[in-house]
C-alpha cells in the first residue's frame, strides 16, 4: 500500500519534471527569447533586468548552448551547469518567481494567485453540479436501459457533448443578458460598492450563467460513463443477490449500484481535468470571468509571454496534482485495492 502510494507520487513528480522542461523549452527555444526583449513596451532598464533574471546571456543548458540565439561566445560544452538559463529558470521557480507581466508590470505569481481562486470557484461549482446530475441521470438511464427514457438521455448527452463550450456560453449569455436581465459578464458589478451578503448575491448572479454552461457541457459525459458503469454493475451477481434479499429497487440502486459505480467516476473526473481546464478557458473568456482562463486569453492577445508561461505552468501542475489526488482517493475508496 505504502509502496503503491510512493510509486504514484514518484510518477507525479516525473510528470511535473516533464512539464517544467516542456515549459522551459517552449518559451525559451520555440518562443524566441529575443522577441521578448524587442517588446516596445519595455524600457531599456527592464530589458536589462529581464536579461539578468532569466540569465539570457548564459547558455540554455549545458550542451544546448547553440540553441540560445543571443549566446555569448562561450565554448560549446564544459559550461558550468549551474550557470545556465535552465538553472536560472529552476531557481526562479523555486523562489516562486514567475517573472513580471509585460502588460501590467506586476509579478506574474501575484497576478495568477489572485485569479486562481476565481477559476477554482467556477470549476468547483460547475463540476459538482455536473457530477451530481450526470450521476443521477446515468443511474436512471442504466436502470431503464433500452427504454424511451434511456434513448432520449443518450441522444441528449451526445448532443450536449458535441456543443462547442464557448458557443453554448455565448448563446446562454445572449439569452440571459437580453431576456433575463443577467449581467453581461465579470465577477461582480464594478463600482457598486456592495458589501457582505449583498456582494455575495451579486457574485452569485454573475456566477449563474458560467456555472450553467459548465454543468451542461459536462453532464453529457458523466451521464454516458455512469450509464455504462451502472449497466455493468447491475448485471453482476451481487445485484441478483440483493434482489433475492428482497431489497427494493431504490435500495439496490442506492446501496449497491451507486456505491460500486462511484469508483470509476473518481477516475473519470480526474481524466477529465484536461477538458475541465479547456472548458474554463472558453467559459471565462465568454463571460469575462476573471480567472486563469481569461488570463490566458488576455495574455495571448497582448503577447504577454511571462503571464502565458506562468499560467500554463500553473494549470498543468495543478492538473497533475489533482490527478494524483484522485488516483490516491480511488486507491483508498476501493477496499479491493486498499486492503490488497
Amino acid at each position: 500500500m505504502t509502496k503503491l502510494i510512493l510509486r504514484k507520487l514518484g510518477w507525479a513528480l516525473l510528470t511535473i519534471a516533464f512539464v517544467l522542461l516542456l515549459n522551459f523549452f517552449l518559451f525559451r527555444v520555440m518562443g524566441d527569447p529575443t522577441r521578448l526583449l524587442k517588446d516596445p513596451r519595455l524600457s531599456q532598464a527592464t530589458i536589462e533586468a529581464i536579461r539578468v533574471r532569466f540569465g539570457l546571456d548564459k547558455p540554455v543548458i549545458n550542451c544546448f548552448e547553440t540553441l540560445n540565439p543571443i549566446k555569448a561566445s562561450l565554448n560549446a560544452c564544459g559550461v558550468n551547469p549551474f550557470n545556465t538559463q535552465f538553472a536560472a529558470y529552476l531557481s526562479n521557480l523555486l523562489k516562486g518567481d514567475l517573472g513580471v507581466s509585460f502588460h501590467s508590470q506586476r509579478p506574474v505569481a501575484e497576478l495568477l494567485t489572485e485569479r486562481l481562486w476565481n477559476t477554482l470557484l467556477l470549476i468547483g461549482a460547475g463540476q459538482i453540479l455536473a457530477i451530481i446530475i450526470g450521476i443521477i441521470l446515468g443511474l436512471v438511464a442504466a436502470w431503464k436501459a433500452r427504454t424511451v427514457l434511456d434513448y432520449s438521455a443518450l441522444v441528449g448527452s451526445l448532443t450536449v457533448w458535441s456543443l462547442p463550450t464557448f458557443w453554448l456560453g455565448i448563446l446562454l449569455l445572449f439569452w440571459g443578458s437580453n431576456y433575463l436581465g443577467l449581467p453581461l459578464g465579470g465577477k461582480e458589478t464594478i463600482g457598486s460598492g456592495l458589501t457582505g451578503l449583498k456582494r455575495l448575491g451579486d457574485i452569485g448572479t454573475h456566477l449563474l450563467l458560467p456555472t450553467l454552461t459548465f454543468t451542461l457541457v459536462f453532464i453529457g459525459e458523466y451521464m454516458l460513463i455512469m450509464r455504462s458503469t451502472v449497466l455493468d454493475v447491475l448485471s453482476e451477481d451481487y445485484i441478483l443477490t440483493a434482489k433475492a434479499k428482497g431489497l427494493s429497487t431504490f435500495q439496490i440502486l442506492k446501496d449497491h449500484a451507486l456505491r460500486n459505480a462511484m469508483l470509476p467516476i473518481v477516475t473519470i473526473v480526474a481524466l477529465n481535468l484536461g477538458f475541465t481546464v479547456a472548458g474554463a478557458i472558453q467559459i471565462e473568456t465568454v463571460f469575462s470571468w476573471p480567472g486563469l482562463g481569461l488570463t490566458i486569453f488576455e495574455a495571448v492577445g497582448r503577447r504577454d509571454y511571462p503571464v502565458l508561461q506562468g499560467a500554463f505552468l500553473l494549470l498543468a501542475v495543478s492538473v497533475v496534482l489533482a490527478n494524483v489526488i484522485a488516483d490516491l482517493l480511488y486507491t483508498f475508496l476501493d477496499p479491493r485495492v486498499r486492503l490488497a
Partner: protein, 302 residues
C-alpha cells in the same frame, strides 16, 4: 468489411451520423456553387450593411464587415473539415504506431511508451495548444500540426489493448513460430485486425479536432487568411454582435460545428456498438416475467 457495412446500415445512429457528415462534405466541396457570394470579394461597406438582418438578399444576414453570413458559413465548412481530417490523420498515425509497437513488443518498450503516453495524457490539451500556436504563427498548417500531435493518446491506448488481444490469436502465434519477421506479422496479421477499431476511433478523434480548432479560433488563434466557423464566432463575439443583437451572426457557425461534431459522434457511437456489442440487460430490468392468466404481476407491470 462487407459485413461491417451491412451492420452499419442497420445501425440507426451510425446511418444518421454518416448522412450528416456526407451532407457537410458535399456543402464544402460545392461551396462555390452553393454560396450566393464570394467571401474573398471586396465589397463597399455602408453603415446599413453591417449586421444587416436576414433578408432575401442575405438569408443569414450579414456580419460585422457587411459580408454575407451564409456564404461565409458555406465556405467555413472547408476549414473545419480540413483541420478535422488532417489533424486526426496525424493523431491516428502517431497513436496507432505507438499503440501497435507497445502492444506487439510488450515488455520494456511497452512500459516506456505507455508511461510517456500517460504523461502526455495528463497535460491539459487546450492550454498547451494555445501556447504552441501563440508561440508560432497561427497558420492553418501549424494549427493542424498542433492539434494533431496533441490528440493521439486515446488512440495509442486503444490500439495497444486491441493489439495485445489480437497477438495471442492462433495464426499470429503460428506465424511467429515459423519465424516470420515481426514487422511482417505486424503489417499482415495484426494491423488488419486492429484497423476497424482504429477507423471507429478516428471518427471520434475528428470530432475532437474540430472542437479544438473552433476553440482555438474563438480564442483568437485562427489562421487570418481563412475564415473558419470558430473565427466567424470570434469576430461576431468580439466585434459587437452581442450588443447589436445580431443573433444570426452567432447562430449559423455554431450550429455548423454542432452538426458536424454530432455527425462524427453518432457515427463513432454506431461503430462502437457494432464492434463491441453489449447486451445491455441486467437484473433490475422489469420483464413481463409471467405470462399467466390471473396473475397480479401482469397487471402491475402493464
Amino acid at each position: 468489411m462487407r459485413d461491417f457495412w451491412q451492420a452499419l446500415r442497420r445501425n440507426r445512429m451510425g446511418v444518421i451520423g454518416l448522412i450528416m457528415i456526407v451532407l457537410t462534405l458535399l456543402m464544402a466541396i460545392f461551396a462555390p456553387l452553393l454560396a450566393p457570394y464570394n467571401p474573398k470579394e471586396r465589397i463597399r461597406v455602408t453603415l446599413d450593411s453591417i449586421y444587416a438582418k436576414p433578408s432575401l438578399e442575405h438569408p443569414f444576414g450579414t456580419d460585422d464587415a457587411g459580408k454575407d453570413v451564409l456564404s461565409n458559413f458555406i465556405y467555413g465548412a472547408r476549414v473545419s473539415l480540413t483541420v478535422g481530417f488532417f489533424a486526426s490523420f496525424i493523431s491516428v498515425v502517431i497513436g496507432g504506431t505507438i499503440g501497435l509497437i507497445s502492444g506487439f513488443f510488450g515488455g520494456k518498450i511497452d512500459n516506456l511508451l505507455m508511461r510517456f503516453t500517460d504523461i502526455v495524457l495528463v497535460i491539459p490539451d487546450l492550454p498547451l495548444a494555445v501556447v504552441l500556436v501563440a508561440l508560432t504563427k497561427p497558420s492553418l498548417m501549424n494549427i493542424i500540426i498542433v492539434i494533431g500531435i496533441l490528440g493521439w493518446t486515446g488512440t495509442a491506448r486503444l490500439v495497444r489493448s486491441q493489439t495485445i488481444s489480437v497477438k495471442e490469436r492462433k495464426f499470429v502465434l503460428r506465424a511467429k513460430a515459423i519465424g516470420a519477421h515481426p514487422l511482417y506479422i505486424l503489417r499482415n496479421h495484426i494491423f488488419p485486425l486492429v484497423l476497424p477499431l482504429m477507423i471507429a476511433n478516428t471518427v471520434l478523434v475528428i470530432s475532437l479536432a474540430i472542437l479544438n480548432e473552433s476553440a482555438l479560433a474563438f480564442l483568437g488563434l485562427g489562421d487570418p487568411s481563412t475564415l473558419s466557423w470558430g473565427q466567424m464566432l470570434n469576430f461576431a463575439f468580439t466585434r459587437g454582435a452581442m450588443s447589436s443583437g445580431a443573433w444570426w451572426a452567432l447562430l449559423a457557425p455554431g450550429l455548423g460545428i454542432v452538426w458536424l461534431v454530432l455527425g462524427c459522434t453518432l457515427l463513432g457511437q454506431g461503430f462502437q456498438q457494432i464492434l463491441n456489442p453489449r447486451l445491455e440487460s441486467h437484473h433490475l430490468q422489469k420483464s413481463e416475467m409471467i405470462a399467466l392468466e390471473g396473475s397480479h404481476v401482469q397487471q402491475a407491470t402493464g
